[in-house]
Symmetry: C2
Subunit: 207 residues, 2 copies
């Protein structure tokens, strides 16, 4: 009887232990969410060849005079933009950077849905890429509700926020002290998605 | 013997249970870190009286013509700046907003250590508060290493990052579409602290 008792207690103990371990590991998985991406990029960026980001080839297959195979703030920024697979919502004050324009056109060519909201005065500056994007069939709206539409943010696939002080110009990338913050933190991404939607609707030319 | 056995098993079970509960609750506290602050503010801000933020009085004790007791993007921004208790590192392209200048001067009066880094050209624009801050004894440095020092960020007490598209001007606050992101996320705050330190050292006039 005592032996049976001991066997029963040990058996129940083992069952309880294995159940607890399973429960605990499930709990841990729930409580430790996947770390979301948080990255800060500073500018001016080093100059380096970015051809391979567009052609998805080896960094050394291009023979231009710029350094090759160097990861820079600008190449990181380009990669984040080019990571879009379904949507790119862009809200930018000044847009004249040819590489950034090429990235947006490449995404358009891959059937990524692109919406561009920009400042009505700055859309006409020398070298502005807004006309180029429009001609390619990308939907562009100009802000009419403020002195300046001074945002410089993009939302990739409704999940990744790219925002900061950097306008999408060559001077900003190569000559100014600037910052770009890249985050997937939902508390930060959600308000920007909501604001983009508000501004996009507000600036619908049909209204 | 069997009764003793049962009592012992139940006793040991109770001890094991209470130990497990204690262990589990400690584990939960460890794994669920304090949620860090993440806030996004959009501008233009509604106009409202902010006098009470400076005087720490009732919002209704001021008799100016602006609405009272209204929380706005600008009042939130002011509160975050005014929350500084030890340091404020400010890196801003254009600074002409009188209320923001008043906030910085108030912190200076409370012995908060303030460092201001600004653009050398924009420090001399009409209404610039840079001269006012300098005259009050606040340490200001002008960037000499780039076309424009285009950042618009502040770090409060080495913990809270305030960054975005918004220059510290009246037009930015009242008339432009702008954003400000406020975060305590260490992965985002740390790089800005490091960059401030780099720029501050780089622009030391003694070098």
């Amino acid at each position: 009887m005592t032996v049976m008792w001991t066997v029963k207690v040990i058996g129940m103990g083992l069952v309880a232990l294995s159940l607890s371990v399973e429960l605990l590991s499930r709990l841990l998985r729930r409580l430790r969410p996947e770390r979301s991406l948080n990255e800060v990029l500073f500018f001016p960026s080093e100059m380096a060849c970015v051809e391979h980001i567009f052609t998805q080839s080896s960094p050394f297959s291009c023979f231009c005079s710029l350094p090759h195979g160097v990861e820079t703030s600008f190449s990181r920024l380009l990669r984040h933009i080019m990571s879009a697979s379904s949507t790119l919502d862009l809200c930018v004050f000044a847009f004249s950077n040819m590489d950034l324009s090429r990235a947006v056109l490449a995404l358009h060519g891959r059937n990524v849905t692109i919406r561009v909201l920009t400042d009505r005065h700055y859309s006409a500056i020398t070298g502005s890429q807004i006309g180029v994007l429009r001609k390619a069939g990308i939907c562009v709206r100009c802000d009419v509700g403020s002195v300046h539409m001074h945002h410089k943010f993009a939302v990739v696939d409704g999940q990744l926020l790219i925002t900061g002080s950097l306008n999408w110009t060559l001077t900003a990338v190569q000559s100014n002290m600037e910052n770009i913050l890249v985050t997937e933190e939902p508390d930060l991404v959600r308000p920007f998605i909501k604001e983009f939607h508000r501004l996009w609707t507000h600036n619908d030319p049909a209204h």
